[in-house]
């Protein structure tokens, strides 16, 4: 019946209303911010790199029916424990990042297990639960860093503890690991586009050989990338982009690997179980799927990925606010995912990537745009806070409305 469905602009807009609105808003704001687009681009490229993991980590709980996992802050805490350990052992550079990663994994798994277990006790209220898990964990985290560190576990590095010798300093300098991943290979924007084009070409050829049919979409994509790359290297109008925008290749490679992992994951048995559990727990249970275990697994994966995300974030930022760095991680990631057009029950990798991009673009330009439109940077500042909470509230309301109408 629907086979002859044609592309309908009205339908497209209504189905993708949220990203379209935010894209329009972004364009207006970029225009009014009065900043060179290349400079904005460079900042967004960096912000995207340090936040994409968080947003992608939310896909697992969303698809397993637990909504936005605001509890990924516990993953960020695990990462901070890892980073602190690396600092206490006076490591620097890549070894420090690797050690932090190794140390954070068991913590993240444990935290993910516990919060997943709690989620199973409060089915239907996972978003609320995970949010309060974050607040509660913050208290435990404070206890660890204010009292146990230095108080029970002796720390010999002067810069890491308060002058009294008990408790971690509230702001830690991460100069020794700043850019440990980002700076391995950095290329300009259009070289990066060529790298993407090469990758895309390889995939296209592989697909074509495998299916014995030319993969048209991918071919078009490859050609488009090549065109962009060539244009960037030759057109004077784009030379600013070439000079200013630097892409951390390793970080983006890791994000690419994660995306590939996610799309492979949801083709596996466990991924299918997760989707089944997400759509209807009762039916999944009757079919013999271990619902609780599947949900805990989804939660654990999410928390571990967010821990990796926080390590990537901190190595990019170069400072660690010991007591606050983790606080808004869940909220911001959730908002980004929703801006990409996802809902609290359905989300895809492209939505996560698009959302991360749009969210951080807005985040970057809104203070300056506010300054230029309303004469006050504060309004832009308020606006971006409003976006975060507003979009989450809107998504939850829409979800409830959809659920109600779906009952008919």
């Amino acid at each position: 019946m629907f086979k002859n469905k044609k592309f309908n602009i009205k339908e497209f807009l209504s189905e993708n209303a949220v990203p379209v609105v935010f894209l329009t808003l972004s364009i207006i704001f970029v225009y009014y911010s009065g900043t060179q687009p290349a400079i904005i681009m460079n900042d967004v490229v960096a912000r995207f790199a340090r936040n994409a993991f968080f947003v992608l980590s939310l896909l697992f709980p969303v698809l397993a029916g637990m909504g936005l996992n605001f509890g990924i802050v516990v993953g960020a805490m695990a990462a901070q424990i890892g980073i602190y350990t690396a600092l206490a052992l006076e490591l620097s550079g890549l070894p420090a990042v690797l050690l932090a990663t190794v140390v954070c994994i068991p913590f993240a798994l444990l935290f993910g297990f516990l919060s997943g277990w709690l989620n199973n006790k409060t089915k239907g209220q996972e978003m609320l639960t995970s949010m309060f898990v974050g607040y509660f964990a913050h208290g435990v985290y404070m206890l660890l860093f204010l009292f146990i560190i230095g108080g029970i576990i002796p720390i010999n590095v002067y810069e890491l503890v308060l002058p009294s010798g008990v408790g971690a300093r509230s702001s830690l300098d991460l100069t020794q690991i700043k850019g440990a991943l980002d700076s391995i290979v950095k290329v300009d924007l259009f070289t990066f586009v060529f790298i993407l084009a090469a990758l895309s070409a390889v995939i296209t050829v592989a697909n074509t050989i495998k299916n014995k049919k030319l993969d048209v979409t991918k071919t078009v994509l490859t050609v488009a990338l090549v065109v962009v790359g060539v244009a960037g290297n030759t057109l004077p109008a784009l030379s600013m982009f070439k000079r200013v925008v630097k892409v951390p290749v390793v970080t983006y490679a890791l994000i690419g690997i994660l995306c590939a992992f996610i799309s492979m994951f949801f083709k596996t048995k466990l991924g299918q179980d997760m989707r089944a559990v997400g759509m209807n727990m009762e039916i999944a249970e009757v079919s013999g799927i271990n619902v609780n275990k599947t949900r805990i697994t989804a939660n654990m994966i999410s928390v571990v990925l967010s821990a990796f995300g926080q390590i990537m974030f901190l190595q990019n930022l170069g400072t660690l606010s010991t007591y606050t760095a983790h606080q808004n991680v869940g909220m911001f990631a959730g908002a980004a995912l929703l801006i990409g057009g996802a809902s609290v029950t359905k989300a895809t990798v492209p939505q996560a990537l698009l959302g991360t991009f749009l969210f951080h673009l807005l985040f970057n330009v809104s203070p300056l745009a506010g300054q230029n439109i309303f004469g006050s940077a504060l309004i832009g500042e308020y606006f971006r806070v409003f976006i975060v909470y507003g979009v989450i509230a809107l998504a939850i309301v829409l979800h409830a409305a959809k659920k109600a109408s779906g009952k008919k």
Partner: protein, 529 residues
Amino acid sequence: MENLKPVLEMVDVKKSYFGNQVLKGVSLKVMPGEIHALCGENGAGKSTLMNILFGMPVIHSTGGFEGEIRMNGEVIDIKTPRDAMKYGIGMVHQEFMLIPGFTIEENVKLNREPLKESILGKFLGEPMKNLNRDEIRKDTQAALDQLGMDMVPADKVAGLPVGYMQFVEIAREIDKRGVKLLVFDEPTAVLTEGEAERLLAAMRALADQGIAILFITHRLDEVMAATQHITIIRDGAFVKYLNTADTNVTEISALMVGREVEVIERAKHHEASNEIVMEIENLEVNMPGEMVKGVNLKVEKGEILGIGGLAGQGKIGIANGIMGLYSATGKVTFEGKEVALNNPKAAINAQIAFVSEDRRGVGLLLDESIAFNIAVPAMQNQGKFLKKYGPISLMDQAAITENANKYIEELDIRCTGPNQNVRRLSGGNQQKVCIAKALTSEPKIIFVSEPTRGIDIGAKRLVLDTLVKLNEEEGMTVVITSSELAELKSVCDRIAIVTEGKVVGVLPASESDAKFGLLMSGITEGMEG
């Protein structure tokens, strides 16, 4: 037969919910390769017995049960649905156990997906192996073919008509290998006659392969046609084990209800009149699976009008559209005034009442008491059962309870009292609560959709009798939508047949079955005038 061991034996099973004993010692014996009917009224304990057999959480969270379950002579312990599956027990549920967002094939293979090697699987083991999509499709197609259903495995379940969903469910059970016992819980309740026949044929084919089938149904002609043995339970107690060959429909129904069942006949019939109480013009309703595509219908004052037709043709959509539950266009006039569409409140305020076919979803607040459920619409829309204290209105509990008690007695709602939650009532009793709810708002016209779907003979009679009584004693106009033509013919004055979203004809109920049959298949030639 004596030397053959039964596949399944349930011995002296007892179960109470919150002090209310619903099973008082039921025994059941199913032989391999037979189709065995389990008959009983709604509320007799069939569903509870099946929940026990399937290890549903509701049993074990309320204190377990007494008695023994044996398979092939060995005592087994079923604590979860997973255990039941392990022992080779499959179930086709009365309420669909399908995930709407998944495709047919994904549902058929849910948690039994064939796997193949993958990169992740090599490192991380079984759960990370990829699904073998080709095999999933092949197996699903084979199961659908076995049922003779022309469905596309890659279609989503969400948009399918109800009757098709049942076949998906059955395809899933057929696809299970190593299954020894299949329970069909009222599989034909939502199927059209043709679909039901195909299902019975599929059941026989399965039984011939040695699979025992436990068949729960209210359609006694199907029991007679398909089964070898019958177990009858009544009010939670074992009544009789019968050989199908040695019995007949009258005996079975008598044993089920414990009294003789007569055919429902009306004392007096409505005289054809020209007084039109409701006029439906060009009504289109966008109800998935039951699309209405331009219905014109006149309802005469004081009649019982039936709306019949095959499942999925749109008959259900008419009442839902008038009541504003699904988006609709067209014109509906009631007592000379136009009723606003897409606005449930407008319909209720016009004193139009509706008993939905979806009693658990639309009809009831499952976790509220019987009394509250009955009172809610009248309270919300007419300000009944409220005590006013200046600007503040409070619920009048005494009046609500009194009203509930009246209907519990009148409609014979079997419950522990007006404060029992409706979730724990059986289907038939829930339906009676729905009707009580509609009556409390004192409507002038009442739409009843599928009033007897999934209801036993005794309750069916009560429900239909109630509707007839309303019509005769209070002159209420009644519009009944039902898939069961015989039922419509027994109570209605006129019957409109809906095919492909349109009324193809309105006939007096006394017309022959053949004429109705022709209308249902869309043949209207020679019917005009």
